[in-house]
């Protein structure tokens, strides 16, 4: 059996002669492409640039926080650093990360389609994204912005003396790229599925991308109008947030969080989708409770629109509103917990393979659980009053966004890398990077829970000396985390040329995207596949001795 599989792998380890990467070559063929796979790669390079810039900003903040005094940067520079970090990481890395890179690449092959429904709009969305990013970078180069990523009024409209309009303009423009992507994915998932691929035969990654798209489409326009009104008010000195006219700056917070809380779920739902794929494949088992996991994605998307007020418990909102928002926020824990329990139950009695993507997936489950549980602390009115605007909040949402989304992004990137490039990454280096990332992450952010609980506020460049120990630990962790991110960058690039040829299905995974050559041909399939059964037809008993590809 084992030898047969090995022979099997060797015979299929050949690159297809013609695939989407070599069917056309040259810069023009990339800049004018409407192939969803190439657009995914364009997005990958673009968000990598923003990730690097935002990481440098984070590194500078961590260096400043090594000592209690403000000796590395001034408080003004520090304000600009956390604004750059927040704006770039949220809008130019996390929100586009899994949807525009992995989503663009794998949604059409996963549902047996030749492309997304609107390929030209798909390319347009990338150009809009680049334009928004360019505006934001212009604002950074010309001196930056010191409002924080939240652009709270009246500071942003009246008092801030920096390039608020340009940066908010960049975010405004990039928002339309999100909207187009969401519209494209929803239409694609509704109308482009292969024959026999009913809604409850869809892979869970598709369900989570659908839920994400609903949020992208319905929440992003509210941010757009809010930022537009904020900018008009800054230019003209008149607007609905203007206290001089009887306007209410708190209205800005309502409108901002009406977008930005659902946006938090844009930054986790796609990750959950990736994890569902990884857990099933590497425990060789059908997912436990498919319907519940799928419905939980939709429930999170819907509930996400009803909890924005929990960001405003101390902003002077009424006690009753606070109580309602608190209860609604607790409700989000139910679908989230359903997912965690179902992933765990899927592992039970599976044939578990600790490959690199699986390590990231297991890391995700642990870190997401910590992030989610601390979210419940913050949804509790009285506790929130104590830890609001402290490092506790910072640690909480980094556990979700970095511990959750970035781990899932890395896991998904490793999982589909052979499909994207046709080559395998080095497995040992991959495992090493996954473990370094996990360790570095925890060392960076766990001390911040303690700091926050002890009362260290966020957004200050100096702090009382008794907080130094935990800050030093956190900075040490951040440097380890940096290594964990640099390693994959190196070996991914290495694998493009030297990686072993993967063959169509190195993981012996189910799912339509694995039934086509790696890299896939321009239109994904020679012949549109027909689907006759539920997804994840894995069998742990048969796959006990499976020889999964590794290098």
């Amino acid at each position: 059996m084992k030898t047969a599989t090995e022979i099997d792998i060797q015979t299929e380890g050949e690159m297809p002669r013609l695939h989407y990467l070599n069917v056309e070559i040259g810069v023009k063929s990339w800049l004018l492409t409407t192939d969803h796979k190439r657009i995914g790669i364009l997005y990958l390079w673009t968000i990598l640039v923003f990730f690097l810039i935002a990481s440098v900003a984070a590194a500078m903040m961590r260096i400043e926080l090594l000592t209690p005094q403000g000796d590395f940067v001034t408080n003004e520079t520090y304000n600009k650093l956390f604004t750059i970090h927040g704006v770039l990481m949220v809008w130019f890395f996390l929100i586009p990360s899994i949807p525009t890179v992995l989503g663009n690449f794998v949604i059409p092959p996963m549902i047996g389609a030749r492309d997304v429904a609107f390929p030209k709009l798909n390319l347009l969305s990338w150009y809009i994204f680049v334009a928004g990013g360019a505006l934001t970078l212009w604002a950074i180069i010309h001196g930056g912005v010191d409002t924080g990523w939240t652009f709270y009024t009246p500071y942003s409209t009246t008092y801030a003396n920096s390039h608020v309009i340009t940066m908010a303009g960049g975010v405004f423009v990039a928002g339309f790229s999100s909207i187009i992507t969401g519209m494209n994915f929803m239409t694609t998932i509704h109308k482009m599925r292969a024959p026999g691929l009913t809604w409850f035969r869809l892979p869970l990654f598709i369900w989570s991308m659908y839920a994400t798209s609903v949020i992208l489409v319905l929440a992003t326009p509210v941010l757009a109008i809010t930022l537009a009104v904020m900018c008009v008010e800054r230019i003209w000195g008149v607007g609905v947030f203007d206290p001089k006219l009887g306007g209410d700056p708190i209205l800005f917070q309502h409108m901002f969080w009406f977008y930005s809380h659902p946006a938090v779920y844009i930054m986790i739902l796609p990750g959950m989708g990736v994890i569902s794929e990884l857990i099933t494949c590497f425990s060789r088992k059908r997912i436990f409770g498919y319907g519940f996991v799928a419905a939980a994605s939709m429930a999170i998307a819907v509930l996400g629109f009803l909890v924005w007020g929990h960001h405003m418990f101390v902003s002077g909102q009424s006690v009753y509103a606070g109580m309602v928002f608190s209860i609604l926020s607790f409700l989000v824990a139910i679908p989230s917990a359903i997912k965690v329990f179902n992933w765990t139950a899927t592992l039970h009695k599976g044939s578990i393979y600790f490959t690199t993507p699986m390590l990231y997936a297991l890391g995700f489950i642990g870190l997401f659980t910590i992030g989610g549980m601390t979210g419940l602390f913050l949804a509790t009115l009285a506790v929130d009053v104590h830890v609001h605007d402290s490092y506790f909040v910072i640690a909480h949402f980094h556990y979700i966004m970095v511990g959750g989304m970035v781990m899932a992004f890395m896991g998904g990137l490793h999982y589909w890398w052979p499909k994207i490039t046709g080559r395998l990454y080095p497995e040992f280096a991959g495992k090493l990077a996954a473990m370094i990332t996990f360790l570095g992450f925890n060392l960076t952010f766990f001390p911040q829970f303690i700091l926050g609980y002890l009362g260290m506020p966020r957004r200050y460049h100096a702090y009382p000396p008794e907080f130094q120990l935990f800050n030093v630990l956190s900075t040490a962790g951040a440097s380890i985390l940096g290594v964990g991110y640099l390693l994959p960058l190196i070996y991914f690039l290495w694998s493009l040329k030297f990686g072993r040829v993967a063959g169509p299905n190195p993981w012996r995974a189910t799912g339509l995207e694995w039934q086509t050559p790696s890299p896939p041909p321009k239109h994904n399939f020679e012949k549109t596949p027909t689907v006759t059964e539920r997804p994840y037809g894995y069998s742990p008993e048969e796959d006990v001795d499976l020889h999964l590809a590794s290098i």
């Binding site: 609107f118 969401g182 239409t187 109008i225 008149v238 609905v240 006219l245 009887g246 209410d248």
Partner: protein
């Protein structure tokens, strides 16, 4: 490459047939319109909050707007939507000349709307109703009144941008229709442009009573 593609040149390569393409485009437009509802929604929320807080001043301020021009514009837009609906029908029935005429007719009505709006904005300016540009208010709470006019200009201005985009789309469609682009069942673009135009119309149907009629009994 695909047999259906060869049969119908306007079916894009990612679709199996015209039916799938038509349904996808229609759904895409509906999703876009949902986005638009929430885009305008932010301003509607602002209006609602301050109408509730400063109801009296909002009524006073609303009375200074020109109901006659606003009402005429409402009629113009409603008629334009009817003409648009006829255009969609003409495209479905493959009536090329009629389609061109009806699309241009819709665009002309859009231009009439914009012209009346321009006249009205000028009148508002002369009456010192434009915030920050010589705004004058006799009576209590000038700040709140200025807030009303700010919302009025923001909402009608955003709507006017949408009308202008719509006119552009209609003119382009009319030119393409003249060249016979929408023949043989390829009426999809006309249909989804129609959805957009009706949406712009409906936004105005909400704006008109909220801004012009709240002060009238």
């Amino acid at each position: 490459m695909h047999s259906t593609t060869a049969a119908a040149p306007f079916v894009h390569e990612q679709f199996d047939d015209i039916e799938q393409q038509r349904k996808a485009a229609k759904l895409g437009m509906w999703i876009f319109l949902a986005t638009e509802v929430l885009f305008f929604g932010g301003l509607f929320l602002g209006y609602t909050v301050y109408r509730f807080t400063y109801g009296h001043v909002f009524v006073q301020a609303s009375r200074k707007l020109d109901v006659v021009i606003g009402g005429t514009n409402t009629a113009v837009l409603l008629i334009s939507s009817l003409v648009m609906a006829f255009s969609v029908r003409a495209s479905q029935l493959d009536q090329r000349r009629r389609l061109v005429g009806l699309l241009l007719g819709t665009a002309v009505l859009g231009c009439v709307f914009m012209s009346l709006k321009a006249v009205e904005y000028h009148k508002d300016y002369v009456d010192h109703l434009v915030p920050r540009l010589g705004f004058k208010w006799v009576g209590a709470d000038p700040g709140n009144a200025e807030l009303f006019y700010w919302i009025y200009f923001a909402m009608t201005g955003l709507h006017a941008i949408h009308v202008t985009v719509g006119i552009g789309i209609l003119v382009v469609l009319a030119m393409l229709a003249w060249r016979g682009r929408f023949r043989n069942g390829n009426y999809n673009p006309v249909e989804i442009a129609g959805l957009y135009w009706h949406f712009v119309d409906i936004v105005w149907v909400f704006l008109f009573p909220l801004l012009y009629l709240v002060g009238h009994r």
